[in-house]
Amino acid sequence: MLKIEKRREPSQAMVYITPFIAIALTIICGFLLFAIMGKDPFRATSLIFFEPVTSLYNISELLVKASPLILIALGLSMGFRAGVWNIGAEGQFTIGAVTGSAVALAFYEMEGFYILPLMCLAGILGGMLWAAIPAFLRTKFNTNEILVSLMLVYVANLLLSVLVHGPLRDPDGMNFPESRLFSDSALLPLLMEDGRAHIGFLVALVFVGLALFIQERHMLGFQIKVTGQAARAAQYAGFSSKKMVWVSFMISGGLAGLAGTFEAAGPVGQLVPTLPAGYGFTAIIVAFLGRLNPIGIMLGGLLIAITYIGGETAQIALTLPSATTSVFQGMLLFFLLATDILINYRIKWFGFFKPVAKGK
């Protein structure tokens, strides 16, 4: 009754239409889910999708959530384009937060314009270092980078826990597993007087522009595209696949590490064990939602941030567990991947009982 036919050329229109179809389907399913659970679906849907953009405070919170998502997703999208699967950005985020915070704590109670840049540098290097492990194992031994980067997420979280229980713990903190509060010079400047939005969002926007330039105008962007779409052609053209793995992991690891430092130096203001809140995993959805395109990722990051804030509001107003957000995010990714087919294939409807005509 249904037949799938390959298009001669990928449909450009569908590239832009399908994310909206996916969002609409997610809202419809969420609506049904709430109705089944006995919650007022109109109220829940509007709380999740519209409430977050109604007040200045909420918009500021939205930027706080969107910044790390956009930064990490930008890095991941480069790798995904080249067929390199860094699934462990969450771990690189954590290590970046640790190294950035270590610098902040080393300069504790000192003031200076140089502290924040040093922290960012440390965060980027920390993320790169953690990403270098799967990159090295992949290029040296051909070890599966998906599993290695993922296992390192758990190791990174445990390492963070060890550090905040030990060397980085606040000496005057009555044994609470938390670092000292950062000094003013180690905190990111705020964007608005109210709320917690910080300049990290502007940095993310700069990286959106940079990524757009690399993708459209730079040789590296072309190499990434060819490697991902036709590995053998890339080989003949002399593009090294090992170099691609390294470049992908360094960019995505560095940006994830920077996002980690921003999280510690921005909304949190210290190093806490609960710092890794799943941004590294959610960024994967953002990358796909944005079609691995920098502008798309920026919009996707903002949209997912809306569901975060909305999820939190709904959680309080309707007494739902915090996991409501990940249900929505999972569904959104499902629908995106499912509607992807419309780009390269055409679906023909033959009615319920007509057999599929062969050879046509």
Binding site: M37, T143, L147, L150, G166, A323, G330, L333, F334
Partner: protein, 307 residues
């Protein structure tokens, strides 16, 4: 001696959820599909098994519904990746996110519930044998099922025509398609089997091992099961031995303070993950040596039948 028996039994019980999930994924990957959603299917099985046992009061109903729930989750994956040719890596991730979220949402009101102890099989005379009795013949039935399942799968791939066809589908889907095998149908079936096994593994966790429900109960075991498949080089018995090794590491962690080991318990918690990485490297080093250690050739690649 009692401590030794306790540790041995503890290892087997800790490893069994991994055995179930890993053996299912072995079959899935043999057919050329990479389903990274094991964690999501496991936790769905865990909640379903627990909830259905609470409501029906019957373990059988709980176990069966957990298997069905895992298989249904796998069906979503199969539809997106096989019928709609979606990216397998991303779809698997979505499955995990969705499963973790949905179970937390639904399971919220079941955290205070409890179920009775899962019955252990006690065979008169044999179970009374000193040492060996409590070590080998005093388990719940699911442990024996898991071992039987592993050897059943081994037999399936080694000795049956159907098993060989599944391997062919995983190694060269185009060739299998051109001689008339329904590649997609085979993969739907292996995926559902894998989902059922993962669901059962999850149910073992929530109904036998702990027995309770908390959000995120599986705590990364689905991912370890995925690593075990590589560890076992896609061989059922090796994957099972890997699971027992991991069970051993997690029990070692529990007993480390008892042994007087002066290591931060968090470093010990890192061991399973670091061991997985070590094993992955060892496997990749070994690849050139034996052709048996190779991954199915079509693993993770989409299949489009051009009639």
């Amino acid at each position: 001696m009692d401590l030794f028996i306790n540790i041995f039994v503890g290892i087997i019980i800790a490893a069994t959820p991994l055995v179930f999930a890993a053996i299912g994924e072995v079959v899935v990957e043999k057919s050329g599909v990479l389903n990274l959603g094991v964690e999501g299917m496991m936790i769905t099985g865990a909640l379903t098994g627990f909830v259905m046992t609470v409501h029906s009061g019957s373990f059988t109903v709980g176990i069966l519904s957990a298997i069905i729930a895992g298989a249904l989750m796998a069906l979503i994956f199969a539809f997106i990746t096989q019928s709609l040719m979606g990216n397998q890596v991303a779809t698997g991730l979505a499955l995990t996110l969705f499963g973790l979220g949905l179970t937390a949402l639904i399971g919220n009101s079941y955290t205070a519930e409890s179920i009775p102890d899962f019955p252990k099989i006690f065979i008169p005379v044999i179970s009374d044998i000193p040492v060996l009795g409590p070590m080998l013949f005093h388990f719940d039935i699911l442990i024996y099922v898991s071992i039987a399942l592993v050897f059943g799968v081994k037999w399936f791939f080694d000795k049956t025509r159907l098993g060989l066809t599944v391997i062919a589908v995983g190694d060269n889907d185009d060739a299998a398609h051109s001689i008339g095998y329904p590649v997609r149908l085979y993969r739907y079936c292996t995926l559902m089997f894998g989902g059922g096994c993962a669901g059962l593994g999850g149910a073992y966790l929530s109904m036998v091992q702990t027995p309770m429900w908390v959000e995120g109960l599986t705590a990364g075991r689905g991912w370890i099961a995925l690593a075990l498949v590589v560890f076992g080089a896609w061989m059922p018995v090796r994957a099972m031995l890997g699971a027992y090794l991991f069970g051993g590491i997690s029990i070692l962690q529990l007993h480390s303070q008892g042994f007087g080991l002066a290591i931060d318990p968090q470093f010990l918690s890192m061991l399973p993950y670091l061991a997985t990485i070590g094993v992955l490297v060892a496997i990749s080093l070994n690849k050139k040596g034996s052709s048996k250690l190779k991954a199915p050739a079509c693993l993770g690649k989409p299949f489009y039948a051009s009639d």
